[in-house]
């Protein structure tokens, strides 16, 4: 019963957050300068067309009325129609979201895999020559802008060495009838290598440094000293005792990193011509395509909120103490 009400509270809280996101997005875009009609300005653009477009986009009604119409449609699962494409926002988002998710999660898993191991290793080798080189190196990767790193990787591995293609998810004209057939093809992984590397090189710094400092704290704890006294091997002490405990905050940071990573995708998707949601988002915002921009941001908010929920639940599994009150 108690668990049930806890979940209920959590759901209500989540819904409230979503409503707040929707409301802020709605007014934010409409307060920005720029008109959605800008894209149509042309010598043949007649006054009647302008009025028809305004009516068509529902922009002839007062703002509060537009807001309630939008909320009403949203409750029925209708994200509306894009001003720019004239087709369903939901269709557009779901066509692009998988590409963004696979890029985000592949790069994060790679970054966290490398980051956690390297962080643990560096904590173990505290004060050594390795640390002297590794820490400045990690800080450098953290400081490199993603678009710059992406262009460097393109120049070296694509244009000079020719190892990897320069953009897209598939070779020109390659026919993959389903997403699954695309994602399981060698072509796709070849195309994804450089964007994933770019994102991973940038993202690995956070888990690495976090893991290292957690490890340094944990290594000072009594149970680690106890393990050493018991005469356990270094491997057993570092990995089985210390690393498992140091991992907990890193897991939480993973969920938060998803949000940051999607933000990084905006840049990387443009550099590598990746057909994802991030690129679409930028275009939608700059073209005042309110329905699509709102829909895309909402979808990203949903992913981030869902990841936070997952992190909370995962935490309970990894560290049962948090569920006790």
């Amino acid at each position: 019963m108690k668990a049930f009400s806890a979940i209920g509270a959590r759901v209500i809280q989540t819904l409230f957050v979503l409503w707040a996101v929707v409301t802020i997005l709605f007014f934010l875009f409409r307060l920005m300068p720029g008109s959605p009609l800008a894209a149509y300005i042309d010598p043949n653009f007649t006054p009647e067309q302008q009025d028809a477009l305004m009516a068509r986009f529902g922009l002839d009604k007062p703002l509060w009325q537009q807001y309630f119409i939008y909320l009403g449609n949203l409750l029925q699962g209708d994200l509306g129609e894009s001003f720019f494409y004239r087709t369903s926002v939901a269709d557009r988002i779901f066509a692009l979201l998988p590409n963004t998710l696979i890029l985000t999660f592949s790069s994060l898993i790679l970054a966290y895999g490398i980051g956690v191991l390297a962080g643990a290793y560096l904590a173990w080798k505290r004060g050594g020559a390795v640390e002297q080189i590794a820490i400045p190196l990690v800080l450098t990767t953290r400081a490199m802008p993603e678009f710059w790193l992406g262009m460097i990787l393109l120049a070296v591995f694509s244009f000079s060495l020719g190892w990897f293609p320069a953009g897209g998810t598939r070779p020109p004209g390659a026919d993959y009838p389903t997403l699954w057939s695309l994602y399981t093809s060698a072509d796709f992984w070849r195309h994804m290598t450089l964007p994933v590397l770019t994102l991973a090189i940038y993202a690995q710094g956070l888990p690495l440094l976090l893991m290292r400092s957690n490890m340094l704290d944990v290594m000072k704890e009594d149970f680690v000293t106890m393990a050493r006294i018991k005469g356990l091997s270094s491997y057993s002490v570092v990995i089985r005792h210390a690393a498992r405990n140091a991992l907990l905050p890193v897991m939480t940071s993973f969920a938060i990193a998803v949000g940051y990573q999607i933000q990084g995708n905006v840049v990387v998707e443009t550099v590598f011509s990746w057909p994802g949601l991030g690129r679409e988002l930028v275009r939608a915002v700059s073209a005042s395509d309110y329905p699509l921009a709102q829909g895309a941001f909402l979808m990203i908010a949903v992913v981030v909120i869902a990841m936070n929920l997952v992190a909370d639940l995962l935490y309970a599994v990894l560290d049962p103490r948090v569920t006790r009150e």
Binding site: Y85, A155, A166, T270, E280
Partner: protein, 547 residues
Amino acid sequence: MQSLLRATAWVALTAAAGIMPAMADPIRTINLFTRPQAAQPSEYQFVELIAQEWRKLGLDVNVQVMPWEQMSEIVWFKRDQWDTTAWQMVGRPERSDPDEIVFNLFHTSTAEKGFNFIGYNNPAYDALVEKQRAELDPEARKALVREAQAILAADQPNMMLVHPKSTYVYNAAVWKPESVVDQGGIGIRNTWTYMSLDPAGDKRDIVLNSSDTVRAINPLYISGGTDSWITELLWDRLMRVGPDGLPQLWAASAFEWIDTTTIKVTLREGMKWHDGQPVTAEDVKFSFEAAGSGEAPMYGPFVRNITGIETSGNDITFKLANPSAAFLTASLAKINLIPKHIWEPVIEDQKTKDTNAESYQEATPIGSGPFKFTSWTANEEVVLSANADHFNKPKADRWILRIVPNVEAALGMLKSGEINFLADFPGDPSVLNAAAAADPNLKVVSTVDIGFRYVAFNHRRAPFNDAAFRNALSAAVDRRLIVGAAFKGFAVPSNSVVSPALAFWHNEETGKMETGVDKAKAMLAAAGYTLEGGKLHYPAGVTETLK
């Protein structure tokens, strides 16, 4: 006594005359809009140059940088709230007929809400462009269009700057150079090139790039520049604008003016839709009716002049409300021919909804054009394949459009062979020459464009309502400076909205324009503008109303 009075009066008068210039107001700070350097490097550069020259005349010039969406909102929807702005017209095949430009940009009827956003008002000009629109004799019309350009040159409603050169690159190891068609005013990126590109080796797919995404593939929706490359290949039109800029027969095998408002067009025999059904005169009639049905608002203006369409066998007869010289280019070469069996139910359905035909995306678009639709992957690529049944069937196998938002990557892809036709390069074109120098297979082709770049003056706001002032500001800037510094030589100076690429219509006399800061200063002085303390003032008696 009398002489004393007279002397006093004389002194008073001269004193008044002496004070008069001081009574005129200084000209307020003039705003000049431009888009950001990152998005429009040439524009930003020429705006900085122009501001610098204008300042030498004693004007305070404030360069305001803003993104296109914001700029267009002010210029278009708040027509009395700006002074001057950089602006751009892009070249399109339909603009090979000068009517759209000389009429819509300057006619009084479009001043309130249409494209005459500068508020130019000249009844003599209005009468002239109305007359050229109705003149069916090309030679007589040519004289009128040239006269219109002369009026614009004298009035300087806008400060014309350049016609840029459209610059594209192809790989000569993949495509035979003699099969590339350089369309006047458009460049080598055109439908004719795509139909005639002849493989030089075993690669048979045209792979090209665009930095813009594809919005829709819809014959009833003018959705964007890149989209139009696709619609032109999938759907035929009765006529097509040829490589020489003049309309030529396409899906029509003949046309005949019965009288000044009646034209009979004969449909070519044996044409088929991509689904195998025959193309009929009924389909053609339906295509024009659909464009005017209200369900395709973007195409409405191109068929507004049609009052009736009749068919008989393979003949289609159009009845027009007014004689229209541009009808062949602006209507017959513009309206996509669409299959009635597919679109009639769609149009009927849309009439019952609050959306229109622009929202309808066919899963497999069906036209009758030289290429057939194969696939479209959102924000990544569009694949078309050659239509072997077409009367002008392409030599290449497929036409593959890759969406590449990263300009540098597009050039890299051209070098590495991932694409073989660079169809869109918003960056510095001199980079392309460097790439071609490094790889002899890369061929750069530059063509003077129909489109143009200019600075618009807002005639609603003094001092821009004064032709002498506009002339002086325009004369202050040497266009060669703009061509060299802002366009790296990839442009030609211009003083006419009708491009020299349209040799038939272009008035060469407009090019004889003297420029220089000293000349501009002399023009301002002659018109009564004065310099006081280095600041330009209005002529005597004119007050500043917009502070």
